[in-house]
């Protein structure tokens, strides 16, 4: 029943403001309003929840993330005549181009027994990280309208970008297995190691994508720069050739750096798992340890980094 009173009071302030004209309304006592909010236990709208609560919310939206990811992937090819076939054809053509340049024209295959499989593993695995990062730069600016329309933890979007690329990778892995078998590699128990390797890489990628997504949300210039950074990274990751050709004559620090490179670690893991022709001494040591470290540090670090700016996403 307090309504009548309230309307009368607001009327008073309204006529006062109307009399003062636009812009002349005196600002109300701000401490009063925040005090009122506190007294009735109102929370700040759109406030960032705690880290644990945030992680719980993201987990709660897991169905959204997966559906969003597969929808994005499907939407990518809806206007193409070959449709979803491109999901398989694109990595194949990609590998063919690199084979032509590095295998046939430049001949970087020296010292590598099964070059086609070696190259394909490198291209497919690096492509996973590369595509994930590139879609990560667009995951906030590209979905601004969605962000401004609905409420959900924003980390869903970069994570979905990663999952989307993971789904693409799983398809590519089928093609890749075919290539590896056709080029004469035997099917061994080590193939099972593909699964933990992909999971670790996915965790690493998700963290990286979250970091890039936050940076790109603030600095739109970043999406122009990222392709170049990724290309430099690719050439340093032993995708087309063994990085031994760099490190052979270089100081110890350089080879340590090259061997710690996460992309190189994940590619090497996959090569060791799928290809018996890649000897142990051709890949850096402590592979699994490095992979787990990268996945945990970047995965969790990226999540925290992204969460810290949760309220900022969506500001124009």
């Amino acid at each position: 029943m307090g309504e009548g009173v309230e309307l009368a009071v607001t009327d008073l302030s309204a006529s006062a403001r109307a009399a003062g004209g636009a812009g002349a309304a005196p600002p109300p006592d701000t401490t009063d309003l925040s005090e009122l909010a506190r007294r009735y236990g109102l929370g700040v709208s759109g406030a960032r929840p705690g880290l644990i609560e945030y992680a719980r919310q993201v987990w709660g939206r897991r169905h959204f993330i997966v559906t969003f990811a597969s929808s994005k992937l499907a939407a990518q090819y809806t206007t193409a005549r070959l449709g979803q076939l491109w999901q398989v054809v694109t990595p194949l053509v990609n590998a063919a181009v690199y084979f032509l340049i590095f295998g046939v024209l430049l001949g970087t295959h020296r010292g590598i027994q099964n070059y086609i499989a070696y190259l394909c593993v490198g291209v497919f695995i690096f492509n996973f990280t590369q595509q994930a990062v590139q879609s990560g730069t667009r995951s906030i600016p590209g979905n601004l309208t969605l962000i401004r329309a609905l409420h959900f933890p924003r980390a869903c979007l970069p994570v979905a970008a990663t999952i989307s690329q993971l789904q693409q990778l799983v398809l590519s892995m089928v093609v890749l297995s075919g290539i590896v078998l056709l080029t004469g590699e035997p099917l061994t128990w080590r193939w099972f190691l593909v699964i933990p390797a992909i999971l670790l890489q996915s965790m690493f990628n998700a963290g990286l994508v979250l970091i890039v997504a936050r940076l790109a949300a603030k600095t739109t210039d970043l999406s122009q720069l990222v392709p170049f950074v990724m290309r430099v990274w690719m050439y340093g990751s032993g995708v087309f050739y063994s990085t031994a050709i760099f490190s052979r004559h270089a100081p110890h620090a350089v080879s340590t750096l090259l061997n710690a490179n996460p992309a190189y670690v994940f590619i090497s893991l996959m090569r060791r798992s799928l290809m018996s022709s890649v000897p142990r001494d051709m890949v850096p040591g402590h592979l699994w340890l490095k992979a787990v470290l990268w996945a945990v540090v970047v995965g969790i670090g990226g999540f925290v980094f992204f969460w810290k700016a949760e309220e900022e996403y969506g500001r124009g």
Partner: protein, 257 residues
């Protein structure tokens, strides 16, 4: 102020500034961009739009508040800020629970089918897959998309703007909300859809604590709200009884046209 019902939304001196990129200035060549960086000036292509300038008010449980004002007066922006979707530049918005925005521009994915969009929208609002399945048919029926053939399985980009708006509203309206913000959602679609949606909004209002309605149809505001806020150029021009405020607003807009 202790005499009032419990407040549900408190807007405390909120300013909202949009940063707009690509609002190109006079000189926008690579050379100009370079000299700007060297001289450490702001790019002219980035402009700040001060959409809401120091708005404060308190809304209480059971209130229905209309918001009126000319185009570009900051009404939709203010609603987004209340919903927590657009962070204020300075000032704070306090709310009881999570407000939900029912807008016509709740964007969905144009390349996907209507069907996929319904599922995605529901999941994004936090429904479980089981709840989505349960609500799906109701949403499609409500939107009336399938009245003239099987349109729900076509991509959204093939929809007319009215159809798309109807589907978006139907998805958003499928959930119950504590604080409900309705942004022009009633103006979309044909007459029969408008009737249905007004009915649905009344239902939602019954369940919600507080309802905000933005509309350019003063009749809608008069029908639904007891209190109205008139926003002009991002500033509250008037705040009070609907009859009085809408009458003043009508006089103002009539004089201008």
């Amino acid at each position: 102020m202790a005499d009032f019902d419990d407040p549900t939304v408190i807007v405390d001196d909120v300013h909202i500034v949009y940063r707009v990129y690509g609002a190109s200035g006079s000189r926008n060549s690579p050379a100009a961009a370079f000299s700007r960086i060297v001289r450490r000036r702001r790019p002219p292509s980035m402009r700040e739009v001060h959409a809401v300038r120091g708005v404060s008010f308190v809304a209480h449980k059971g209130e229905a508040i209309g918001i009126v004002g000319s185009n570009g007066s900051g009404k939709s922006t203010l609603l987004r800020a209340i919903a927590g979707l657009l962070p204020p530049h300075t000032g704070k918005v306090y709310t009881n629970g999570q407000p939900s925005l029912l807008g016509v521009n709740a964007a969905l994915m144009n390349d996907l089918t209507g069907e996929r969009n319904v599922v995605l929208g529901c999941l994004a609002m936090g429904m479980t897959p089981a709840q989505v399945k349960q609500n799906y048919q109701q949403i499609v029926d409500f939107s009336g998309i399938n009245e003239r053939g099987d349109f729900i399985s076509l991509p959204m980009r093939t929809y007319s703007s009215g159809m798309a708006a109807r589907l978006r509203f139907s998805i958003a309206a499928a959930k119950t909300h504590d604080v409900l913000l309705i942004d022009e959602a009633l103006a979309t679609g044909d007459a029969s859809f408008q009737r249905r949606s007004e009915e649905r909004v009344r239902e939602l209002r019954g369940q919600a604590g507080t309802v905000f309605v933005v509309s350019h149809q003063n009749k809608t505001i008069r029908d639904m709200c007891e209190r109205t806020i008139w926003l002009e150029s991002g500033v509250i021009r008037m705040d009070g009884d609907t009859e009085e405020v809408v009458a003043a607003y009508e006089e103002f807009s009539g004089r201008r046209s």
